[in-house]
């Protein structure tokens, strides 16, 4: 069976700084991969390369066996229909109301009629635990946790085959973080979607992941089943999941 997402030796740098330095990973359909790693380790860039928002210098990225690096705009739009993405800050359109945000992909991308799209948006809002009266509000009127939930509803509105989560719990209180984790697990199970999440919240990672990967200096130092993360025998992983300042990962601090 062809993997849903297949990355082979992906390199990306910004000037002299190598952000991705040879990433190779396969993800079978229906699996949930969580990529953990410190700030600035290239996690977000990895997702943006797969989405085609950035172009890697070398390497191959295949979605359902189809090479997507360097696809022309029109083809890219077709491939992107398979995707949903939850952005770190939510990235809700602040000139549109909540339901218009959720229905955006349906109305603009799939050319659905507004009335029908509104019904779908309300259903998705209900699925993330938001009542219909939120639908007419503006994103700026919502709390951080509610914005995340609206963003989640938007990511799943077109029922995508692949969903990316960029730090879904960052900036939320622990309870709201767990609510979001549960919603992610439920939504993904319901859609049967393949997902990649990036996070540095280990609690969240354990809850969402089938497989985990640790990224450090642009390379995946460890990839394995989520259950084996505690027995990885990898000093980088051990340091990260226990949150220790001492270890092979050194923060570049000036003293």
């Amino acid at each position: 069976m062809t993997p849903k997402i297949q990355l082979t030796d992906v390199h990306k740098s910004f000037g002299p700084k190598k952000v991705l330095d040879g990433i190779t990973v396969d993800l079978p359909a229906g699996q949930s991969l969580v990529v953990i790693g410190g700030s600035g380790s290239g996690k977000s860039v990895l997702l943006k390369c797969i989405l085609g928002l950035m172009r890697p210098e070398t390497g191959s990225i295949k979605i359902d066996g189809e090479e997507v690096v360097g696809l022309p705009q029109r083809e890219r739009e077709r491939v992107l229909r398979k995707f949903g993405m939850l952005f770190q800050g939510g990235a809700l359109f602040d000139s549109l109301t909540v339901w218009e945000n959720v229905a955006f992909g349906l109305i603009q991308g799939q050319r659905m009629r507004r009335a029908e799209a509104r019904e779908r948006a309300l259903a998705k809002l209900a699925a993330v635990g938001l009542a219909a009266d939120v639908a007419e509000l503006w994103p700026a009127e919502l709390s951080g946790g509610m914005q995340k939930r609206v963003a989640l509803a938007r990511a799943i509105a077109s029922e995508p085959e692949i969903i990316f989560f960029d730090e879904p719990t960052t900036g939320l209180d622990p309870i709201m973080a767990d609510v979001i984790n549960n919603l992610i697990v439920d939504c993904v199970k319901q859609l049967g979607a393949t997902t990649i999440s990036i996070t540095h919240d280990m609690h969240s990672a354990r809850k969402i992941a089938d497989r985990m990967a640790m990224i450090y200096k642009g390379r995946l130092t460890w990839v394995g089943p989520a259950a084996e993360i505690d027995a990885s025998g990898n000093p980088y992983v051990d340091q990260f999941i226990h949150g220790r300042a001492e270890g092979p990962i050194t923060m570049e601090l000036r003293r």
Binding site: K48, G52, L53, R81, M85, F87, Q108, R154
Partner: protein, 257 residues
Amino acid sequence: MPLVAAAGRLFLTFLAAAGRLTAFTAVAVSNAFLPPSYPRQIARQMFEIGYLSLPVVGLTAIFTGMVLALQSHTGFARFAAEGAVATVVVLSMTRELGPVLAGLMVAGRVGAAMAAEIGTMRVTEQIDALTTLSTNPYKYLIAPRLIAGLLMLPLLVLVADVIGVFGGYLIGTYKLGFNPATYISRTWEFLEPVDVFSGLVKAAVFGFLISLMGCYHGFHSKGGAQGVGAATTTAVVSASILILTFNYIITELFFAR
């Protein structure tokens, strides 16, 4: 030697910037003509640029027309040619001051707002979000603004021309003692279609440039609030300079014979 190197670097930076802008313009314009288009967005931008700019442009025009009448009267009185005031007002408004002043005012009002809005969308990842929702940001964000700028500025300038001439008429009849009928007939007498037409061509070009600068600088802004602020300033300054430059070029094309 270091001086030459510095000059060379500066020149290369300039060429790179010009290249980026040209590529951006080409992509934006080609996207404006290819389907799908977003009529809702175009209508909204037309309202934003056209209707909401009316008060600013109207005020600018009426005071400009009034000042023109006063100043030209002072000048022409020195060689007993006061009769030319009406003609000077209408020609100055339609050919020069209508398009240029409306352009500069709209650059300040609309160009800044565009750069700030699109810049904020860029730094909060809203533009990336558009792409992941299978929507081409050039079609959804940029093309409607370019189209609206191109279409609305000529309309605004037409309004400004009328209001400016009316301002001149007010001063001419109430303060300078012209007979109203004479003033109006003098306004029409020497006005040629090309005077108004050249002003409208200028306006269309200025409208396109204002939107282009607002979109380009917003689209490429980086690094949070400070980046958005810088993009806003650059958008207004570059639009104003381009307006003045193209004003000369278009005038030259129309009238140099």
